[in-house]
């Protein structure tokens, strides 16, 4: 949003238990967003937890020209086979591994965000990094190492995400 777009983000809540699989929907647009319904035909799917593949239909409704980004150590080709996916692009990045190495805990969110920026081409990565840095600095005022870890994670993910 700070990069001049309209945004909408909303989770799908079930029984709210920590650790349960959740879906969350995001829209990014140059125009104001008026629709208020879930996204059934996404352009882009991000899978934060690869163990969900096979249990949840992660490619449901995915546009043929769309893309799926998965947090996994496997290759895009292997994932495509597992998902039996035709069309669309498949990208993989080991966001969990990266976050363990940089942040010290398995929080794949920021590296996945970096992968999203690379794959979608919607934003300029350096601007995105600056914006994220600002936000994290506010939140982790007494923990500069967390901010640095996250930024390192994003840079690594940005360069390591691979696809076909």
């Amino acid at each position: 949003m700070s990069l001049g777009k309209y945004i909408q983000a909303f989770p799908e809540y079930g029984a709210e238990r920590m650790g349960a699989p959740v879906a969350s929907f995001n829209r990014i647009s140059a125009e104001p967003i008026r629709v208020h319904c879930s996204i059934s035909e996404p352009d882009l799917v991000i899978v934060l937890d690869p163990t969900l593949m096979g249990k949840v239909d992660v490619i449901a409704g995915l546009d043929k020209n769309g893309a799926i980004i998965i947090n996994t150590t496997e290759t895009a080709a292997a994932v495509r086979q597992t998902l039996k996916l035709q069309g669309a692009k498949v990208y993989t990045v080991d966001a969990s591994g990266i976050s363990r190495a940089t942040i010290g805990r398995e929080i794949p969110n920021t590296p996945m965000l970096a992968a999203l920026v690379k794959v979608s081409g919607l934003f300029d990565f350096e601007t995105m990094l600056k914006d994220t840095e600002g936000k994290l600095k506010k939140k982790f005022i007494s923990k500069p190492e967390v901010v640095k870890g996250n930024l390192d994670a994003m840079r690594r993910a940005y360069s390591e995400v691979k696809g076909e």
């Binding site: 909408q8 909303f10 809540y13 104001p32 008026r34 629709v35 208020h36 319904c37």
Partner: protein, 390 residues
């Protein structure tokens, strides 16, 4: 100057409450309105507001405390949802009869049972006859603006009635959206520094008794002014909206007509569904279908004349109700809309869809289906359920 931020509906409501800085908030958290109370309680703890926050053990107590505080002359707010609002039902009509301008943010959620935490309008609709103003919001921005306006409207001497501003549970309450915030000083100036109560329980110069026993000889006379104030509130809502538009640029009315001038097929709806419906209207218009949407923003006072005028030229009308009135002739919105259209010289054909109960998804496809039905309206039943498994 306006500040553009990303806020969920709940955050927007809590932010408005912070800027309103009420004297008293008595509340009890409930999903999906929990955050409103939670965030506001943090503001209190952080000293960002001067509010006296009353932590209570139920919504019944919350509304009771609100009534007491408002009778003492305070500016009072609270927030709740669904079963929480239901637990307040006993006290809600008292607040209206005592003419106390309490402002409540309700996050629309289905009534149990079965137990459900998701959106429909049953909670608010069941409270429609309690003498509270009811303002529905399409998105976070409207909820934020609506809450600020509600304080002015409720406290206007021509109104002096409590008001609830609602958002759709999860769909808006938990949806991060781009909104424009006003400056604290702008809000303060718009609503005025403090409530001017005509009476106060704490005023020892002019002691009063409030909420007395009224029997057959007075009760009726004390109820009529509530109805009269409610009718008069329409004018005040429009005046306040006008001033708001002049100062801050965003226009509001009792209803919003979307591409209605030449519309043949019109959908009437409340809340977040209107946003989705607007997109469908645009899509149908690009295909040559003269589709339109009438959004009812204010359900109490009921804008009957305005609705009849807005629908007078339509050929067909579908009213979308996100609540059921069981064996009545359709949902609550439908029965009232259809009733005001009875006197139109040329009546459009009007049908009802009850949809989205317990958070059942309503998407563009389903709304397209509604417009399809309108184009072959002769074959449609008066009332039908949309999106339910047979």
């Amino acid at each position: 100057m306006a500040k553009v931020v990303a806020r969920t509906g709940n955050e927007a409501m809590a932010e408005a409450m912070r800027q309103i800085n009420p004297d008293v908030v008595a509340a009890y958290p409930i999903t999906p309105a929990t955050e409103i109370v939670m965030i506001f309680a943090k503001y209190v703890a952080d000293g960002l507001v001067d509010t006296n926050y009353v932590a209570v053990e139920s919504e019944h107590s919350a509304m009771s405390a609100c009534v007491g505080a408002a009778a003492a002359g305070a500016r009072v707010m609270t927030g709740t949802s669904s079963q929480g609002l239901a637990l307040m039902y006993e006290i809600l009509p008292i607040a209206a009869a005592l003419r106390l301008p309490i402002v409540l943010s309700d996050v629309n959620r289905a009534l149990s049972g079965p137990i459900n935490i998701h959106c429909d309008h049953s909670d608010t609709m069941a409270a429609r006859d309690f003498g509270w103003l009811q303002i529905f919001s399409e998105n976070s921005q409207e909820a934020y603006d609506g809450l600020i306006q509600a304080v002015r409207i409720a406290e206007d001497p021509r109104v002096h009635l409590p008001a609830m501003v609602t958002t759709d549970g999860f769909i808006i309450s938990h949806c991060l959206d781009k909104i424009e915030l006003l400056e604290d000083s702008e809000v303060k100036e718009f609503i005025g520094p403090e409530r001017k109560a005509p009476n106060s329980l704490l005023n020892l110069e002019k002691p009063v008794s409030i909420g007395l026993l009224d029997l057959q000889d007075y009760y009726f006379e004390h109820r009529l002014p509530v109805a009269e104030a409610m009718r008069g509130a329409k004018k005040v809502i429009l005046e306040v909206a006008d001033e708001f538009a002049k100062k801050f640029g965003r226009k509001y009315g009792l209803c919003e007509a979307y591409k209605l001038e030449d519309a043949e097929h019109v959908v009437v709806a409340l809340g977040s569904t209107c946003g989705t419906a607007k997109v469908v209207v645009d899509e149908l218009r690009s295909k040559g279908v003269r589709a339109g949407l009438l959004k009812i923003r204010v359900f109490r006072p009921f804008p009957g004349e305005e609705i009849a005028a807005a629908l007078a030229k339509a050929k067909t009308v579908a009213v979308l109700d996100r609540s059921d009135s069981w064996s009545a002739q359709g949902g609550q919105v439908f029965t009232e809309v259809r009733s005001v259209m009875f006197d139109l010289p040329v009546k459009p054909k009007i049908i009802n869809f009850i949809y989205g109960l317990g958070g059942r998804e309503i998407d563009q496809g389903q709304i397209r289906q509604v417009y399809d039905c309108l184009q072959k309206v002769e074959k449609q039943p008066l009332v039908q359920y949309l999106g339910v498994r047979e």
